[in-house]
Amino acid sequence: MNYCIAFRTIVTKEIFRFIRIWPQTLLPPAITTALYFLIFGKLIGDRIGTISGTSYMDYIVPGIILMSVISHSYANVVSSFYSSKFQHNIEELLVAPIPNWIILSGYISGGIVRGLLVGVVVALISLLFTDIKVNNIPITLAIAVLTATVFALAGFINAILAESFDDISIIPNFVLTPLSYLGGVFYSVDMLPGVWQTVSMGNPILYMVNAFRYGLLGVTDIDIQLSFIITGGFIITLTSFSLYLLYKGIGIKN
């Protein structure tokens, strides 16, 4: 049994799926983020001044890129896997001789590719408003890939546990979006009062946004090593939990 072919088949299927519906998957983030850059970066940002020595426009670019990566890597996996469950074509994979880790890595790779592709689209849009020179390419790429992995895994778990289409929108709307907005996308955590600074430290997105901001601008509120450790920890935990769910067949088998 050639697992490479099975893996490639799942990834290719996933990529063709979101490319085929590009007006739903690639176009909206371009429009939304262009509006963010215009309203928050240009119109309001000019009155805010600088944060940590960078213009407000530049300051919010990394956060908005990473926020798009997060939401789209999550959305790709949760909608694709849940649709497969809903239409029962997930059974094609369960009947086939594919190990669970190949199923998981195939879907996660699809989510990562979409997350990164949207990130590139948003980065290109940002270049219409500002000129950013990347401070550290390896850190920028690594944290983008790792963040996409974390949220693709989270989307996978959401899809497995979801029993209706409502269940796949609850987490993005009520957990992911608030955490993203409160994760230092639009402000420095140093600007918060003491208690809220401490509370913010419990938000994993804060670590990822700051590491990415460091990669792009060289500016961060958080220790970069800690950001990588926390992101890696999430990947290990979520991967283990996903494999456990697949092994037990929870949500997908009777």
Binding site: E91, E92, P97
Partner: protein
Amino acid sequence: MNALSLRNLKKTYNNGFEALKGIDLDVEAGDFFALLGPNGAGKSTAIGIISSLVNASSGSVSIFGHDLKRDQAKAKSCLGLVPQEVNFNQFDTVKNILLNQAGYYGTPRKLALQRTEYCLKQMNLWDRRDTVSRRLSGGMKRRVMIARALVHAPKLLILDEPTAGVDIEIRRSMWNMMQQVNQQGTTIILTTHYLEEAESLCRNIAIINHGRIVENSDMASLLTRLHVQHFVLDLAQPIAAAPVIEGCQIELITHKTLAVAVPKEHSLNKLFSQLNAQNIDITSLKNKTNRLEQLFMDLIDSNPTGVKR
């Protein structure tokens, strides 16, 4: 060699329902095997466990000698499944559905393209290869599922009510196709509610009821156990009352139609002679029920709790 062996297979669902109460079953390689039973008997649960869609509570499944737990990849590679419900991606083209399926089984692209073409041509779907699958008719969707199950050339093909809801013409063509596949060496396990289908196609049969196998034998010897056959006779002239013939039960359905229960030892020639003697001319005869259907009902009725006999 056995294509499939089930040993003491049990399944109890979370709500406490015992769907399988320990079934043992062997299906020989090359066989065309019928797995029958009324709704809720446990057929779909058994098929679900064999195809890894349902977790067994206990017991073992072996496919061509490969244990489904210990040697999962090899066991699964031997199996092709045509489920009851349409379960392919309705937004994908027919060709992509098959190519993806081949990919899941590790088939190289070039071979996958060849196998896809072969299977779609065999199912008369080649000219529909670029059609988005949701636009296909019900019969075509069923054929897509069969083509998909065959694309990785499985040694064991399980067909779970493949002809449910398709018209008689398509059903007949699907029978021919299934026979061809079986003649090419693929073992087939068929579940169906059309017992005429099972009788015409299958060589061996198991009947499952209340989670137990209540009958497991070859079709020919099972049918010899039929003691009484039921016929409907059309008459040339109307009659007022049912004739009386010793040994047969005769019921007047209409003035020109009789329902007759004929014991096996009572020949049809003798019956016709006896009716002729009473000035009753027969213009046509048909089976009131299919022979297997009659046996099936007898077995289910005589064994309502599914206790093994």
